[in-house]
């Protein structure tokens, strides 16, 4: 191990003096390092203010690799803003935001962050309205994203069946050739979840996925999200307590831009601070 690598190991965020151990794996910068049992996301002391108003206020939070984490909090608590910071849409005024050990998200562009393995479903469903459901998934598909590659590429049979599988998974196989702008709100939500899946991300950020969905659709979404955990790390933002209770292991409550409470659903629901915030509304 070169001196530089040793030095880098010294600055690992989860272990101290790890380089003393035998056979420690070293990861070069630019690669994701978030093995099992480690954290995949580190948010530390993040502050974001809009014209003096602090949408995020010293927010500190860690997401474990393979975890399914739910984030709740009243409207305006800063949940979407937190996702903006993670995906590079908003730059924090202060604080650090790391993806695994090595990737400083505050310095990467939206594109780089997506390529590094973070996929996001937005609160307001944003699909490509003039492309069909199939094409939307094709665009999101994990693949080389350069211009010349896109010009000369021809979809392989494998890719085609992968897209079809995903269409089936999100219940859109019958509407595969329908233009996305004509899908219902719930279907758009699902299409966008499908797009996130096609990116093969390590970390999925899912912002209010069940808005506009019927009961059955909600149930299926819950199952889908649960099935993703383990292989992927998933962060879900929701209002709907019942939904969260049905899927969550760990819940984080955000309030006025910082973490109010964290724990299992029962712990959180019995937390006096949380009760006060929710009853106070």
């Amino acid at each position: 191990m070169s001196a530089l690598d040793s030095l880098r190991e010294t600055f690992r965020r989860d272990q101290v003096f790890d380089f003393m151990r035998q056979g420690t794996r070293s990861v070069s910068p630019g690669q994701l390092d978030a093995g099992d049992g480690k954290n995949i996301l580190y948010l530390e002391d993040i502050t974001v203010s809009f014209d003096g108003f602090k949408a995020l206020n010293d927010l500190t939070m860690y997401i474990k690799t393979g975890e399914l984490r739910c984030i709740i909090g009243p409207n305006g608590a800063g949940k979407s803003t937190m996702m903006d910071v993670i995906t590079g849409k908003t730059r924090p005024d202060s604080g650090t935001c790391f993806f695994g050990q090595t990737l400083d998200l505050t310095r990467l562009s939206e594109t780089d962050i997506a390529t590094a393995g973070i996929g996001r479903k937005f609160q307001k469903p944003t699909v490509f309205p003039e492309h069909t459901a199939f094409e939307n998934l094709e665009l999101a598909m994990h693949d080389a994203k350069g211009t010349w590659h896109s010009l000369f590429t021809r979809m392989s049979g494998e890719q085609k069946s992968w897209i079809e599988e995903t269409l089936a998974q999100v219940g859109l196989l019958e509407d595969r050739d329908k233009v996305a702008g004509l899908l219902s709100h719930g279907q758009k939500q699902w299409l966008e979840i499908g797009m996130v899946l096609m990116q093969k991300p390590q970390l999925l950020l899912v912002d209010e996925p069940i808005a506009g969905m019927t009961r059955q659709e909600v149930e299926r979404t819950g199952q889908l999200l649960q099935s993703l955990a383990g292989k992927h790390s998933v962060v879900v933002v929701e209002h709907d307590m019942e939904f969260i209770r049905s899927i969550a292991s760990t819940v984080t409550v955000l309030h006025q831009g910082s973490v109010l409470a964290e724990g299992t659903m029962d712990q959180v629901q019995n937390d006096p601070k949380v009760i006060e915030v929710y009853l106070g509304e």
Partner: protein
């Protein structure tokens, strides 16, 4: 397979229809010009041949704009600049072909340089006596300018109306520069008095017909090329950038690279159009950089209909035919007519002529079929008698 290749784009029905109509019309005009003597009623004059050639150059330019505006959503108000640069590159070659047949009989220098008392050819004129070099420059100069300009603009995320304004400023600045004698492109008068191209006299009917054919072939080639591009995955990404650029970024596309790619490709096509235009009209001057030209171009595409490719071609030909007729009757009113046309199209048919036809096609077809059918067919309404 869904993804188009150049070959599949060449053999699809739209391309075949397009080429059929294009080559049919071109061949017809050619035959009428070549076969019938000038005093015959069926003769088509060299003037008409050249006029059609000019329209086809405009059509190619409109195609280029449609690629970047219709598909990628970049409203360039400076595409006339790329057209003019391609034209100047061709003009420089034609200038060098004059040799000692100019007014001053100077084989080394074009007339306007002799007039300015220049003693030697500026370095950037070297090589233009070779056709291959000029041809390379026709592609390279507009392409490079678009690449550098686009790189700066798209990297700093200049979009929408701001981008339109700076493209307009670009062509305006070039116009002012080319007006200056010191720049070495003939100043005010531009480049003219061309004699021949590849050894063929530009005055002969044969050359004119050949130029028309070359333009038609270039237009067909560009059409197929654009069909290929827009039918490929790159085309779908470009549409995605047009409709939701930031979403495209969040799934990992460097949208600025895609815009740059399309912008540069489009500028090269515009340059080719300009190069074909100059030998047919016999002159290139700084007026071609006029901001108004680029705006007219936008009107052609809007009238024809965006993001269909053939719409741009139809729009360019129709509006320019209208312009030819209109300026013959009352030239001073053309600009008002153009402005009115633009407003009318924007308000009443945002999808242009093609969009209008597509919308009403089912009813038109139905009506057409009905009037064709027999009267003794039972009434569909089944009205009691």
């Amino acid at each position: 397979m869904r993804d188009s290749t150049f070959k599949s784009a060449l053999s699809d029905r739209t391309a075949k229809t397009f080429m059929g109509v294009l080559f049919g019309a071109t061949l017809l005009v050619t035959l009428l010009n070549q076969i019938f003597p000038p005093d015959s009623a069926l003769h088509v004059s060299a003037y008409t041949v050249t006029l059609l050639g000019k329209y086809l150059c405009y059509a190619l330019l409109a195609l280029a704009l449609d690629l970047v505006w219709g598909y990628c959503g970049i409203l360039s108000l400076g595409h006339g600049a790329f057209f003019a640069l391609g034209g100047y590159a061709m003009g420089m070659y034609l200038m060098r072909q004059i040799g000692d047949r100019g007014v001053y009989g100077n084989a080394e220098l074009p007339d306007f340089m002799v007039f300015l008392n220049w003693s030697e050819l500026p370095w950037y004129w070297h090589g233009f006596d070779q056709f291959w070099f000029a041809a390379l420059m026709i592609l390279l100069v507009p392409g490079l300018l678009a690449f550098v300009f686009g790189w700066l603009a798209f990297r700093s995320r200049v979009t929408g109306v701001y981008l339109s304004i700076i493209t307009q400023a670009l062509t305006y600045a070039l116009m002012l520069a080319f007006f200056r004698n010191e720049l070495g492109f003939g100043g005010n008068n531009g480049l003219t008095d061309f004699k021949d191209l590849l050894g063929f006299s530009l005055q002969s009917d044969g050359t004119r017909v050949a130029l028309l054919m070359a333009t038609a072939i270039s237009l067909a080639f560009a059409f197929v090329l654009c069909r290929w591009i827009t039918g490929s995955k790159l085309g779908r990404v470009v549409l995605a950038v047009r409709d939701a650029e930031s979403r495209a970024r969040f799934i990992g596309y460097r949208t600025e690279h895609y815009k740059l790619w399309v912008f540069t490709a489009s500028a090269i096509l515009a340059g080719i159009a300009g190069a074909l235009y100059v030998p047919q009209v016999g002159i290139i001057n700084p007026g071609e950089f006029s901001p108004l030209n680029s705006i007219e171009l936008v009107v052609w595409v809007a009238v024809g209909g965006r993001a269909t490719l053939y719409g741009a071609v139809i729009g360019a030909i129709l509006v320019n035919y209208g312009k030819t007729v209109f300026t013959g009757i009352m030239p001073e009113a053309w600009l008002f007519a153009l402005g009115g046309l633009f407003v009318a199209v924007t308000v009443f048919m945002p999808q242009g002529i093609v969009g209008l036809v597509e919308k009403h096609w089912p009813t038109l077809k139905q009506r057409f079929m009905k009037s064709d059918s027999n009267d003794d067919r039972p009434s569909a309404q089944g009205e009691p008698s």
